[in-house]
Amino acid sequence: MRKLVRHLAAMAAIVVAGGLLSATLVRLAPGFGTDERQLDSRLNSESVEALRQARARDRNIPSFYLHYLLRALRGDLGESRTLNRPVRQLLAERLPVTARLVGAGLLAGWLCAVLLAVGATLTRKPACDLLATLVGALFLSVPAAVLALLFVFASAPACLAIALVVFPKVFSYTRNLLAKSYSLPHLMTAYAKGSGPLRILVWHVLPVAGTQLLAVAGISVSIALGAAIPVEALCGIAGIGQLAWQAALGRDLPLLVNLTVLVTVVTLAANWGSEFAGRDLRTREA
């Protein structure tokens, strides 16, 4: 229990630091405090100055961040500068969209990757190995943006684009790990003793490769979230990725800080979850 509390405290510290870093980054970025409307030739000097003042009110980062944290404790996440709407409302609308997209993409990506890697390793036929390598390389070589466009064109579900971004990375790691595990001496002994391929996979290979595979699980969440930005932007999906891109372009300080905090929480939860699971696996192994 004490360990869990310690982990949660560390997680909270990282989340707070992430938010502060993000806020500082936005504040220092060129274009902070500017507004597209400044170029509107109908506006007179007073109106342009008013726009400047309105956008520049968060220039003092420590003050902004302190107020943000105090408000956040009360459940108020502030208001988006570019969309003129409460951030909490925006997140509530868009989070389920991205969660569904990324969740389905991760599931499909992992399923394909693990099945193909296991298949290629178990068959040990050069043709299968070559085919698996080529399929992995093909999707590793296609930018997420191009994948997204292809899926738009084919009217295919966008989560498959995420799956194809996750798939080659997971496949590559999994295949290497499995290959390494199969070359271990105790497996040779198991083979010599006549153990079946499935038994070897379940009892000897997966426990060895499991720890590192779980480390990849955490990273694959980050990869999928990263891919969500171009996929959502290009497929016209109103999720967190599209929101992040809009916030970045508009130097929307409250929105970007909240999004960074959210992504930090998800990343940490995924990484630490996989870490705990890995430790648990190691403990059982021991």
Partner: protein, 541 residues
């Protein structure tokens, strides 16, 4: 007797055309961003402008085809001799979409709110010609006089942008006088407009307008998806088409594309002449030299820009006003001729010399500068790359830098840390008064050298004088003469090098009846109240 079959035929045609025109239906098209506001007085972005145009009732409407002011909620109006007052005689028995009656009180309320300095409304700022209070006098429920502190030139046409807000309705955004009202809004997804049951206008046969039952405005920032869904018949029109897509679509379905000719939009390039800009002093000296600016302008092949970048759907530009602006365009101006030899000769007169393949100034500095433009705008990136090659021919090295829009605005309006810039102007207003904040040397948007305490050059002083003179004059001919001269000075001095005027390209499905795209915004649905959608089933293009 011979006339009877003809009359019968004419009657049948009339009935048929009326049936076609009145079939209603739902018109579907996309907004490219979330509307920033539903308050018609605060509109500044395209999405909100679309909603204001379709829902807002105005006193005067500029006919998008004839470009003339026409009576709308005001049956007639008179402008006082001193140009400070305008009196509107309003239509009677007009009701808001929520049933509340429309009267002069609503106009007074709208104008007072619009002119509130604290509101900072772009539409309101267009009316500000002098300091002081705007007064409204309600003579009767159907008559109102609005008095401005100083004369406002072209005052009647300015009311085209002012949607009259209800002074009495509880939900002011739902109470409108236009053909449609906002029935539903799902953020990030769509805005649904429904037919205003109380809309005052009727067609020639006496039937109440609009014909359409609804307008569904999807929110879709991606132009590729817009194009794809248009081809699949999921949307009915694209208000603005990229020339590349226009040509592709024209190849597949020529009947749906429309090239209305040069629009009001222009693309221009300028150099930073701001005295405190953090750029080398010798470069500022180049940029402040008229010979240098004219030489650069002459070395750019505008015909190639129009042909290669826009596939011929653009015209080389001469000056700040597009030929689409029928009244204000100065037809005497000629597009700067592409003449690299002439450009070199001009540069030599200004003390530059060509050493091998590199152009150098009097002090031996190689002529090299950067042009910034906004990232993601393919046409501008391509134009900048072509200008890079054109200027390379006269020994000038150009670096093309694409920046995200916020960084770009920061450089051109705050830090002034840039050398050359390539951007466009989307003119929504025909009258030069809307550009006062661009041409006056003291203005914020006097891009090449903003916020001057007093004009730094004689020609800028001349532009200031002419712009103020046209703004205070009520004689169209005199105003036109002043603004013609402004255009001539701009072409002579090249503070902005105007490059091309893009054509107004659009696509309208054949199922949409009565569509007649024009060059002024909104090109395709300017006559929304008379549009109708014949068949609701998807058809492919």
């Amino acid at each position: 007797m011979k006339r009877r079959p003809l009359a019968l035929l004419a009657f049948l045609l009339l009935v048929l055309s009326a049936a076609v025109g009145q079939s209603g239906g739902e018109l579907r098209f996309y907004l490219h961003s979330e509307p920033k506001t539903f308050d018609p007085l605060l509109v500044a972005d395209d999405a909100s402008e679309t909603i204001r145009y379709l829902t807002g009732g105005v006193l005067v409407r500029v006919n998008r085809r004839t470009q003339q002011a026409e009576p709308e909620l005001a049956a007639s109006w008179t402008i006082s001799r001193d140009g400070r007052s305008i009196t509107f005689n309003l239509r009677e028995r007009v009701y808001y979409s929520d049933g509340t009656p429309f009267s002069a009180e609503d106009v007074a309320y709208t104008v007072q709110r619009l002119m509130d300095p604290a509101l900072h409304s772009p539409t309101g700022d267009s009316f500000r010609s002098g300091s002081g209070v705007v007064r409204t006098r309600v003579d009767s429920p159907a008559r109102i006089t609005i008095t401005f502190p100083a004369p406002v030139a072209g005052i009647d046409k300015l009311f085209d942008q002012v949607a009259i807000v209800s002074s009495r309705s509880a939900n002011k955004e739902r109470a409108v006088l236009g053909p449609f009202y906002v029935a539903d809004y799902k953020p990030d997804s769509y805005v649904l407009l429904k037919r205003n049951p109380n809309y005052w206008r009727r067609d020639a046969t006496g039937r109440q307008l609009p014909y359409l039952d609804a307008v569904r405005l999807g929110i879709q920032p991606n132009r590729d998806i817009e194009m794809m869904n248009f081809r699949r018949g999921e949307i009915d029109l694209i208000n603005w088409l990229d020339s590349e897509y226009f040509d592709r679509l024209a190849g597949l379905a020529p009947e749906v594309v429309h090239d209305a000719g040069p629009g009001l939009e222009s693309e221009q390039m300028w150099f930073n002449q701001f005295p405190n800009a953090p750029i080398p002093a010798y470069k500022r000296e180049w940029f402040r030299s008229t010979h240098f600016r004219r030489a650069i302008s002459g070395a750019i092949n505008r015909a190639d820009l129009a042909r290669v970048v826009y596939g011929g759907h653009a015209q080389p530009a001469a000056g700040p006003v597009s030929p689409a602006n029928k009244f204000w365009f100065n037809a005497k101006l000629r597009t700067p001729a592409y003449d690299p030899a002439g450009a070199l000769s001009l540069l030599q007169q200004a003390g530059f010399r060509l050493e091998g393949t590199s152009l150098r100034d009097r002090e031996g500095h190689a002529v090299e500068f950067s042009i910034i433009t906004n990232a993601g705008n393919k046409a501008r990136e391509r134009m900048a790359t072509m200008i890079q090659q054109d200027l390379g021919k006269i020994g000038i090295t150009v670096h093309v830098v694409t920046l995200d829009f916020a960084s770009l605005i920061d450089r051109i309006t705050e830090s002034y840390n840039y050398e050359g810039a390539l951007l466009g102007t989307a003119n929504t207003d025909l009258d030069p008064n809307a550009q006062m904040n661009m041409w006056l040397s003291s203005a914020e948007n006097h891009q090449w050298n903003p916020r001057q305490k007093s004009p730094e050059t004689a020609w800028e002083a001349e532009i200031d004088r002419l712009m103020k003179e046209q703004a205070s004059s009520l004689e169209p001919a005199k105003r036109k003469a002043c603004f013609d001269r402004v255009q001539e000075i701009v072409v002579e001095q090249q503070p902005f090098s105007y490059l091309v005027n893009k054509n107004a390209l659009s696509a309208v499905a054949t199922t949409v009846a009565n569509a007649s795209p024009v060059v002024l915004r909104p090109q395709t649905y300017w006559n929304a109240e008379t549009l109708s959608v014949r068949v609701q089933t998807a058809s492919k293009h």
